[in-house]
Amino acid sequence: MASRRIRIKRKALSEAAGRRLTITVLLAPAILVILLLFMGGLITGFLRSLGYFPLIGLHDFNFNAYTAILSDNGFIRSFIITFHIAFTSTLIAGILAVASAMLLRPAFRGKRFVQFIFSLNLTIPHLVGAVGVLYLFSGSGLISRLATAAGLIDTPAGFPPMVNDPWAIGIIIQYVWKEIPFIGVIVLAILLSVGEDYESVARSLGANRWQAFRNVTLPLIMPGVVSASVIVFAFTFGAFEIPWLLGTTFPKALPVLAFESYTDVDLAARPQAMAMAMVIAFMSSLMIMAYMKLSRRYVRS
């Protein structure tokens, strides 16, 4: 009797151990690569930002790089413009994405085509979109030419600066262009899976069209909108090539500033570049935490 119980126990134990082994074997390679590359890169960057650079004899930790960038007006301006880019793009893209999803929800003739175009942007690289925006909105771009033809302006200089401009309009247009379909597809999927019956109930109970949207549809899609927006915000805060192409020379977007400091011939700028990279990482960590929190709440309800 006793020996049998022991055998069962040992078997259960080995089963649990086997399960653990399976999980470890399955996860280990991927985790290892991510740890080495992502965490390795992040930690190296962090150490360098603290001035730790054993190869050239620097072993002390200090916050010099951080104090340097934080007291640098250029960095502050960069931070502000970068935040402005990320925040404004995300907000506009979010609102327009919800509107687009509502437009695309019902069946209509040509819906498949419209949906195809809508999701096309998902796969078109940002860089191409940026080039397109440049050729469309620059002083000698297509829209400026159309404005000239319409007699609104006479010269490219008469066209309001929309690329490489201080308000980052071109960058924001590009992000909005690219992210509407990204958020929109997610919202559309939620709308379709939730169905229209909740709104029908609301209408039946006396809500008008706007009230039904405001009180019923919006709360239902909000978790999806917010978690998609978090990804968009983090991306637009840290993306490099679009502000590099469409941004101003001063203030530069943070990623551009970091990259240029890093590739600067002056090695002293390196810790500062790393510090800026850490600021970008920190901002996106905030976003991850928000994301995790929101996605958990989303799953729950």
């Binding site: 019956d197 029908s200 109930v201 209408r203 039946s204 809500a207 008008n208 709360p219």
Partner: protein, 356 residues
């Protein structure tokens, strides 16, 4: 109190398929409980949604008290629909759910709170204000959905399959609740069901739909006693249909001639229909023929026999005592009660031709 009239109401979702609702004419009496009965997919929900203004009819008209309401937005119709799957708003509390309609009408919050409380008392869930929909059982959710509709004091209450998602005992409870509230408030109520028994127990009148078309609109008993077609009789549990020729209150069939004073048709080809309960075993006399017992089952409170009479086989239901009196293979006289025989047209479309 509102009388709802549907005239030639039609809904066709897409050109290629048959209409979901096809030229439906119906006069739903004010203050009564009307059942919309039919198998799944016959267009019941579609009809309700059109009445509530949630779906645009392809053609036809809906009027409340003689006024066409097609151009009135759903929120202004005073016809509230309760969906089959309750659809309580998941992110709102129970109180917020019930008070929703009043909030949309911009009613004072205190007033809403007190009315919500009254409603919770009415549906026998007092103190549920702060709970969330997912914490409630199906039956409780159903009652909250009902309270949410009643609080806006609708002129017309539309209940889509209010009982079909509930367990048997909850179903009885809910049935009582609906009946009680409906009589108390005298709201014109339409409820949808695919279960004929439910319709019979609950409704003042039943509208039977097959494939989007009205088959019969009548008081519950009529569907047993005077169904308009074989399909209707079958839907209500009828099993015995014997073709024949009807003339002078008599129907002549392959197994004999029966006197049949009640008929839905005039002279011509017809179908004799008789419910299993109306067949008496071992009784001689008029309207009686000889049959052979093929099999029997004993089902607790009654017994069911299959009897072969000539070419046809009929089903008879008797009290359980009969099991002892007869044995399988025995030849016995079988009597069809003439007052319970109902003669129906053989063509399935006849019921549609003379309307509802």
């Amino acid at each position: 109190m509102t009388q709802v009239t549907l005239s030639a109401l039609t809904k066709q979702f897409d050109q290629k398929s048959d209409p979901a609702v096809d030229r439906l004419d119906l006069q739903i009496e004010s203050g009564k409980l009307t059942a919309l009965l039919g198998p799944s997919g016959c267009g019941k929900t579609t009809t309700m949604k059109m009445i509530a203004g949630l779906l645009r009819p392809t053609s036809g008209d809906i009027s409340f008290d003689g006024q066409s309401i097609l151009s009135i937005a759903p929120e202004d119709r005073g016809a509230v629909m309760v969906f089959q799957n309750y659809l309580l708003f998941p992110y709102m509390t129970i109180a917020e759910n019930i008070g929703f309609g009043l909030k949309m009408r911009k009613m004072d919050r205190k007033e809403i709170r007190s009315r919500v409380k009254d409603m919770l008392d009415l549906v026998q869930l007092p103190g549920f204000e702060e709970r969330r929909p997912r914490q409630l059982s199906g039956g409780q959710q159903q009652r909250i959905a009902l309270a949410r509709a009643l609080i806006v004091q609708p002129n017309v209450l539309l209940l889509d399959e209010p009982l079909s998602n509930l367990d048997a005992h909850l179903r009885d409870e809910m049935r009582e609740l609906i009946r009680r509230i409906q009589t108390e408030m005298a709201i014109t109520t339409v409820f949808v069901t695919h279960d004929q028994e439910e319709a019979v127990v609950l409704a003042d009148r039943i509208a039977l739909l097959f494939d989007g078309r009205l088959q019969q609109f009548d008081v519950p008993d009529a569907f047993f006693d005077t169904p308009k077609s074989v399909e209707i009789a079958k839907f209500f549990g009828g099993t015995n249909f014997i073709p024949g020729f009807y003339q002078d209150s008599e129907i002549n069939t392959s197994i004999g001639r029966f006197s049949a004073p009640h008929s839905a048709v005039g002279e011509g080809d017809a179908v004799l229909s008789i419910r299993p309960e109306a067949i008496t075993l071992g009784a001689n006399g008029d309207n009686s023929v000889t049959g052979t017992i093929r099999s029997h089952v004993y089902v607790g409170r009654y017994a069911r026999f299959r009897i072969e009479i000539g070419e046809v086989e009929v089903e008879a239901v008797t009290d359980p005592g009969a099991v002892k009196m007869f044995s399988d293979g025995e030849e016995i006289p079988v009597r069809f009660d003439p007052n319970k025989i109902w003669v129906i047209s053989p063509s399935p479309d006849v019921a549609l031709q003379d309307g509802g």
